[in-house]
Assembly symmetry: C2
Homo-oligomer: 206 residues x 2
């Protein structure tokens, strides 16, 4: 990477951590710029005009261009690295888990973590409160699917760590913040340990 | 493609149509196998064991292997074609729109279409009914973001059609089924026409 890389982020977000973790595993340097989402700092006119019209973090700035969406930012950083399989089927299979993460995992596990740890359950709207049991069940279903997939394999795709693992790790390893009981998923727990043992691994709080 | 391609699908689903449209634009042959999601045919023990443990369509079968997740299946089919830009930034930017589609567009526009056209608004649960105004607003926000992005460009990424356009087209062009007023988005409407004019384009009902 010859262009300057700046991560526009809220550090406690698992989606932002994905991008930092990908960079760390690849030995890439990132500048970091923090926005307080609880104070609406990603919805200001300036942020919407200059960083992301969608009003969300993370955004990876590459020189004077930007990539919103955490999993897309990870894909840019990992281009031509061992974190993206070269075979077309394996590449698509990796993306399959990354799309699944954004559709079936993040809206349940990350949203519950945010509602419980940031918003506060007593501050939820009626519409949100009624979704709690559905998100709880969908989150358990997601963890169960991952656990079963990992029963006979070390990594999500093929026999090596890929972005699928990195992107799924981000919110899975903090699912306890949303009162999911990770030790009840033994294969998932072993995979979390394998990922944390990778060279150059960094924790969420780093 | 030398391996047999079978699309496990529910034909009226925009997610399944994406895969058919990608194949058509590339001149690839797909066998099609229909499942009635309204009768639970994707949640049978056999489907969960043999097609997709996540209980969803589409699934693209490639020989004896399978790829769930519509956007990942499109990526497999389009590998090394002009529908995927070769430049690393443009590739990630394309994926950015495809992740955005699954997170910000599909759960609002496709879900409202399904609730209004298949489930029936009078059959919604209280939890679903309370989400209607939020999904309506988020759907309008998604269409507005697309319209603004297209104000000064013909395609979502670079200057040529890519999977970002194909995947976003699928549920956008039927947003009227969910009572979104597409003609109020002029740039988006022009883009829909551009996409429908592509050689080998096929409609949803084909």
């Amino acid at each position: 990477m010859t262009e300057r890389l700046v991560l526009h982020e809220y550090a406690a977000s698992g989606n932002c951590y994905k991008v930092r973790l990908t960079a760390a595993l690849l030995g890439l340097e990132l500048e970091r710029r923090e926005y307080d989402i609880m104070k609406g700092e990603t919805r200001t006119p300036e942020f919407l005009a200059k960083v992301n019209a969608n009003g969300r973090i993370p955004v990876l700035q590459v020189g004077d261009r930007s990539i919103p969406e955490s999993n897309a930012a990870c894909h840019f950083l990992a281009d031509e690295s061992a974190l993206i399989p070269q075979d077309a089927f394996a590449h698509a299979d990796m993306l399959r888990w990354m799309f699944w993460e954004q559709y079936n995992h993040e809206p349940n596990i990350a949203t519950l973590r945010f509602w419980m740890g940031w918003v506060g359950v007593d501050k939820l709207s009626e519409a949100q409160r009624l979704q709690l049991p559905f998100k709880r069940q969908a989150g358990e279903d997601a963890l169960k699917l991952m656990d079963e997939h990992l029963a006979e394999r070390d990594w999500f795709v093929g026999d090596a760590v890929s972005l699928a693992d990195v992107c799924l790790f981000a919110y899975t390893h903090v699912a306890g913040d949303a009162a999911f009981d990770l030790p009840t998923y033994p294969h998932l727990s072993a995979w979390l340990e394998r990922l944390q043992a990778l060279p150059r691994f960094i924790p969420l709080g780093a």
